[in-house]
Structure formats: structure tokens, C-alpha cells
């Protein structure tokens, strides 16, 4: 899959932003006034910034409001609705914290639930696609949710929770990669099933339908950059989980915490880049590629 920067930025930062909103909604840390404002600002910049970035890959962003209609069948539509509900509820909850010094816990819990649902629905947009076997597995939502909760805990300053959740998220990330590597072969889709010519003999793509490239090849058959996948996985897991955990185990220091957050974000960005770049769409088989 083509790793579009808009989608990588969207999934990374909205995941982190909604992760922080989950913790804030549940009252961790229990802050009010300007401190609460600072936390809320960071969470909203990330969550809303990510959502805005996601509209950059739309052909017609001016029609984006229509995307709230089809929640009965579409995970993308459900995600939009959950995101708006979460942001509105948390804005009211945040106003209570910042301006009235009051923690309306019920609103916070509702906001946290919808923030979690937003991350889950985002992951389901990818998980539902049988055409991309690497994504079409239960570890995809586990991967998105664990990273969101871990990143949120890290930014919310919940040191103990962050250490545990970062280790869990790192383990799930590794499992997602290892299991994901075999998903295409397990899916049973190959050139023989794509062309239904396998009972005659072995099928080879002889000639593509066109001399140049096309939308399908640009969007789905992105092979550039898979070469360094193993190195990037190591870089990603070190930055995402190992380094932040080590920094959190050291005596607490705001600068070290900031480095831990930045390392985590960089690690997740690399993981998301790999998430798209390594994903193989079955349509590539018609072109004899993956």
C-alpha cells in the first residue's frame, strides 16, 4: 500500500491524542485550571490535527460531512461519529476542569469511552479489509489500542501505567509483525485463485494491460522501501517502547520525560509507515506483483 503521509500522520497523532483524552477523561492526572488547559490543548492539537490531516487525502474534502451518514455499514463513518462525540463531550468536560475547577466524572468517562471507540473504529477501517491479509487479523485493533493507551499514559505522566502499557504495546507490535508476515500466504489468495487458471499450469503475468503505470499500481503495489523493513522494525520498537521504558525507569525528570514522548512518537510514526509500506493488496497478483 502507498504510505501516504496524511494517513500516517492521522493514525499516529489522532491515536496519541485520543489516548491522552482517555486518561484525562478518567481523571489521570486529576488536574484543573491552567494545568488541565495545557493537557487538553496537547490532546486536542494531536487528535484534531490528525483528523484534519486525514482529510488531505480526500478527493473532495468539501463533501466530508456526508461521511457521517452510513454508520450502519461503514467503519469509516462510525469513526467520524465517534470522533465528533468524543471531542464534543471532552470539550465540555475540559471546560469544567479549566474554567470551573470541577471534574464532571460522568462526562469524562463518556468522553473516554468514545475516545477509545474512535481508536477502535480507526483500526477497524483497516482490519475489515480482506483484500489486505496483513491487516485482516485481530492483532490490528489490539496494536492500535495498546499504542494509544500507552502513548496516552506516557503523555499523561502516569509513569507506572506507562511502563507496563509500553511493554504490552511493544509485545503486541512485535506479534503483529511476525504474524502479519504469514497472513498473505494463509489467506489462500494467489495468482491461481485470482485468474482461476491454476488447473492448467503455473500462471505467470505475461503482459500488463497498459504500458505505463496506473492508479492501482500507485496505490496498492508500493514496493519501494520494503528493503529496509527489518532495520526499520528494530528502530521502531527501540524508539516506541524500549527507550521510553528505560527513560521512565530513571529518576523522574521533565526533560527525560519529554525525550521519552518524542522517541515514542517517532517510533510509532516508523511503525505506521511500515504498516502501510509492507501491506500487500491482493490486486497486485493480477500484475504478478505483491
Amino acid at each position: 500500500m502507498h504510505p501516504a503521509p496524511s494517513v500516517i500522520v492521522f493514525t499516529t497523532f489522532s491515536g496519541l491524542g485520543f489516548g491522552l483524552l482517555i486518561w484525562l477523561g478518567l481523571g489521570f492526572p486529576s488536574v484543573t485550571g491552567w494545568t488541565a488547559f495545557a493537557f487538553m490543548l496537547i490532546a486536542y492539537l494531536m487528535a484534531v490535527g490528525g483528523l484534519i490531516a486525514s482529510t488531505f487525502h480526500l478527493g473532495h474534502p468539501e463533501r466530508a460531512l456526508k461521511a457521517f451518514k452510513q454508520w450502519r455499514s461503514s467503519w469509516l463513518s462510525r469513526e467520524g461519529i465517534c470522533a465528533v462525540v468524543a471531542l464534543v463531550v471532552m470539550a465540555i468536560y475540559g471546560a469544567g476542569l479549566v474554567f470551573f475547577g470541577e471534574q464532571w466524572l460522568l462526562l469524562g468517562v463518556i468522553g473516554a469511552i468514545f475516545s477509545l471507540l474512535t481508536v477502535y473504529t480507526t483500526s477497524m477501517i483497516y482490519t475489515q479489509l480482506r483484500t489486505i491479509p496483513r491487516w485482516n487479523q485481530p492483532l490490528t485493533p489490539a496494536n492500535f489500542i495498546s499504542l494509544s493507551l500507552a502513548g496516552g499514559a506516557l503523555m499523561a505522566g502516569q509513569v507506572t501505567a506507562a511502563i507496563i502499557l509500553l511493554l504490552i504495546a511493544g509485545a503486541i507490535q512485535l506479534a503483529t509483525w511476525v504474524i502479519g508476515d504469514n497472513r498473505f500466504a494463509q489467506s489462500g489468495t494467489d495468482m491461481a485463485s485470482a485468474t482461476q487458471l491454476g488447473n492448467i499450469g503455473s500462471v505467470r503475468a505475461f503482459e500488463p494491460p497498459h504500458t505505463g503505470t496506473n492508479y492501482l499500481l500507485r496505490e496498492f503495489v508500493h514496493v519501494v522501501g520494503r528493503k529496509h523493513a527489518q532495520k526499520l522494525r528494530i528502530i521502531s520498537i527501540v524508539l516506541m517502547a524500549a527507550l521510553p521504558v528505560i527513560l521512565l525507569l530513571l529518576p523522574f525528570n521533565h526533560l527525560l520525560a519529554l525525550v521519552a514522548v518524542l522517541a515514542h512518537i517517532a517510533g510509532v510514526l516508523v511503525a505506521r509507515w511500515l504498516f502501510f509500506a509492507q501491506a500487500e493488496h491482493v490486486v497486485g497478483l493480477y500484475y504478478g506483483q505483491r
Binding site: 463513518s77 479489509l129 482461476q196 505475461f206 492501482l216 496505490e219 490486486v283
Partner: protein
């Protein structure tokens, strides 16, 4: 609505004969022509006369070489367009309801004025049947020439999809695959028509007729080596010319 209908009154679709297709790409061109000039946004090209031409097509012809365990390899031309699946994953993922499957005939269409160009339907399609138009930024797909098949302004013979009307080899057939007595259903039953990627669970309406077994090559004539050889040396003027040129 992007939820799929429980059932459709008809299942209009194509039957593509891989035994007959000669790979001429006439269906590709006629499809592009009809669908650029008629219903919906035109199918644009980018850098059409430059170094990197690219464009939107609703129908493309692949060619595959199939090597049996024994004997010669076969070249098989393979036209591919939307299969108008009964369980179309492209429809249910659409957030706006722009993609839909018609209850009356099962055709999968895109309402272009509702399409936000998110591309998710193309991600969900295993067949590569949907292409985002780089100019109009909306999703384009085969309409089964919905503006031809019911068009009473056209002579009756033309009320079939453009690709079917054009095919010089008769490799493409159009009809109701939901009716077991229709010509296309009988053809599929007789020739053992198949679904592409059945494991994807899309239940495609379009069927592909597999290539029939090739005739075996005839036994070489055992007496041929004993026949008088065909004259190899030129005679007359050419013979003289040959010798004269040889001497120079």
C-alpha cells in the same frame, strides 16, 4: 444506503470467455470511449502523449502465460472489469452512501456527487475494478453501461454494454445471471464458468469461462523425409545471377 440488498430482482452481469478472447483490447477502447462521452465524469488521462502516460480505465485486459506440467505454454488474455459482486465489499465500506448496489438489477454504481474520494472502496475491492480519476477526484467503475442497456433511443442491438457490443471475437456475453434459463446462465453451466478469487467471499456475478483443452499437435508425417526435396538451387536467370555474384 451502503448496506447491501438481501437479494436483487435480477443479477445483470458479464460472462467472459477466456477461450475466445484474442487480446485485441477493443473492449478497453470502446469502454473508455462510451464512458468518457456519456454518463458521469469523463475518464481522464494524464500526460497522454508524454513520457509517463496514465489514465482511468474501467476495463483492462491482462495477458498470462500458463505453463502446464507437460507441453507448450498457453497465452491467455484476461479482460477484467467490475464483477458486480452480490456481497460487494466496496459498497459496505463507503462512508457517504455514494456506492450502492441496485435492488432492481444488481448493478453496483457510484453516485459521483456524493463521493468524497476517500478511496476506501478501491482498497476493499480485490479485483482492482475501481479507479480514482486523477482529474475529477471521484471513484470510477464499470456501470455495466447502465445508460445503454435501458436506452430506448438506441437500436435494440446496441442495448448491451459497449464492451460486449464491440468484441469482435464474441468473447463477452451480457445477461441476467440470476435467471437459470437465460442464455448466459446456460453458457456458464455448459462451460463450467468460475468465480475469480472465490475465497474472498465477494460472490461475483460476472463469470469467467476457462480455456478449453487445446487440440493435440498432429503426428508428424512419417513419410516426409523420403519425399523429393524441394528445389534449393535457383535456375535460369537467378541461377546465373547467383553464380555471378558468388564469383565477385
Amino acid at each position: 444506503m451502503t448496506t447491501l440488498p438481501q437479494s436483487t430482482e435480477k443479477k445483470l452481469g458479464l460472462v467472459i470467455d477466456l477461450d475466445t478472447c484474442v487480446g485485441c483490447h477493443a473492449c478497453v477502447i470502446s469502454c473508455k470511449g462510451w464512458n468518457t462521452e456519456n454518463y458521469g465524469a469523463p475518464l481522464s488521462d494524464q500526460d497522454a502523449y508524454g513520457a509517463n502516460p496514465s489514465g482511468t480505465f474501467l476495463n483492462r485486459v491482462h495477458s498470462y502465460e500458463v505453463q502446464p506440467e507437460q507441453g507448450e505454454a498457453q497465452l491467455i488474455h484476461f479482460p477484467k472489469s467490475c464483477l458486480h459482486c452480490e456481497d460487494a465489499p466496496c459498497v459496505t465500506v463507503c462512508p457517504t452512501g455514494a456506492s450502492y448496489k441496485r435492488v432492481e438489477d444488481g448493478i453496483v454504481l457510484v453516485n459521483e456527487s456524493d463521493c468524497i474520494g476517500c478511496g476506501l472502496c478501491a482498497w476493499a475491492c480485490p479485483y482492482g475494478a475501481r479507479e480514482m480519476d486523477a482529474e475529477e477526484k471521484v471513484m470510477k467503475k464499470c456501470t455495466l453501461c447502465v445508460d445503454r442497456i435501458y436506452n430506448e433511443n438506441l437500436p435494440e442491438v446496441d442495448r448491451v454494454p459497449s464492451c460486449v457490443r464491440t468484441c469482435p471475437a464474441g468473447a463477452r456475453h451480457f445477461g441476467d445471471l440470476g435467471d437459470p434459463d437465460s442464455d448466459v446462465s446456460i453458457l456458464v453451466a455448459e462451460r463450467g464458468g468460475v468465480d475469480l478469487m472465490p475465497e474472498q467471499g465477494t460472490k461475483p456475478v460476472n463469470k469467467y469461462l476457462p480455456p478449453r483443452p487445446k487440440d493435440a499437435l498432429p503426428e508428424f508425417d512419417v513419410l516426409a523425409p523420403f519425399l523429393e526435396p524441394v528445389i534449393e538451387e535457383p535456375k535460369g536467370f537467378l541461377g546465373w545471377l547467383d553464380k555471378a555474384l558468388e564469383k565477385i
